[in-house]
């Protein structure tokens, strides 16, 4: 490959991004030791990479989630009201009043999730247990790196 080619530059970018496979990375590292074209290009790309690294994001507003939930709730209520919008009404009852009230009650039960769980359906229980298993797998993995790392001051 031509060292001044675009492919060479892309390969150097990929190297600094850490996306080259180990063999290709090793080969490139060996090449960079001697190539007068690629070495300065790689140094320049490293400078860019390090420079971009210093640009850290700002803290997120503590009420970000709350505002989002408020917007979602507002939108959900709007849609609910829209389903009950007046232009769709018919003054000729298609069901009895008692039936209509019962339908409303059923609609509420179906519209809003139960706030008091009785017992989990088997599918949810299995989901929970799988999550617990995966969490324990992660804990085992994380334990390897040395818990003292986690005890660093915040």
């Amino acid at each position: 490959m031509e060292c001044s080619s675009r492919q060479a530059a892309e390969r150097i970018v990929a190297y600094h991004a850490g996306t080259l496979d180990p063999h290709a990375a090793a080969a490139l590292e060996w090449h960079l030791k001697a190539c007068p074209v690629c070495r300065p290009l790689s140094a320049a790309q490293q400078a860019v990479w390090s420079a971009l690294d210093i640009w850290q994001p700002l803290p997120i507003s503590p009420d970000f989630d709350q505002k989002l939930f408020q917007r979602i709730d507002a939108e959900e209520r709007l849609r609910w009201w829209q389903r009950l919008s007046l232009p769709r009404l018919s003054w000729r009852p298609s069901v009895s009043l008692a039936g209509a009230s019962a339908a409303l009650l059923v609609a509420f039960l179906l519209r809003t999730p139960a706030s008091v769980p009785t017992s989990p359906a088997p599918a949810q229980a299995k989901f929970q247990i799988e999550q617990v298993e995966r969490a324990l797998d992660d804990m085992d993995m994380l334990e390897q790196i040395g818990v003292e790392t986690a005890r660093s001051p915040i």
């Binding site: 970018v13 400078a47 390090s50 640009w55 970000f64 709350q66 989002l68 039960l109 929970q128």
Partner: protein, 213 residues
Amino acid sequence: MNATSIESRLAQPSWNGRVNSNKSDFGSLDRDADLMLRVRQGDPSSFGLLLERHRGPVIHFFYRMVQNQAVAEELAQEVFLRVYRSRESYEPTAKFTTWLFRIATHLGLNWIRDGRNERRQGSLDDDGDGAARQVPDRARNVEQELVYQARLGEVRQAIENLPSKQRAAVLMHKYQELEYAQIADVLRCSESAVKSLLFRAYEALRSRLVHLA
């Protein structure tokens, strides 16, 4: 029976609704897609988990795109609102992060195109919330802090000078570590077009930032 806000539903363990993870074609390979499918099936706590995982990256992406923290958070709110809004028709045809960043990039590019950044962005020193949010690092002395801020200013200017699509591609490539194929999917172009965008972008950045080495 009480109507509950999404906030309170999110605080509950996910007992409610039927969860059928068998419907995901992605299995455990894309947990986010699995979570989104659970949101589709009526489990709002999974939306909470997705928000927890992706809130930061989306806001940070916007912050670097539009260089204004307040606008970044507004745009991020819009992204998650759209994610929640489209839950009933969600299909995992792509990785979840690809879909998420497709929405985010679309909003970001529109915002830049509409030129609002010219009205709201006085200088690169203004993060939309005043200088107070850019807290100096106490580990640096005054001189070091000045040098750091100067370097940061150059980095931000260099990114801001990139054409918007190149900017989006670099931000996704560098900070979100998306692969070329994903970036192509997000920008709805070919992989070779993404490579071309990144080639030109990094070339421009090298010429502007090499002296910072």
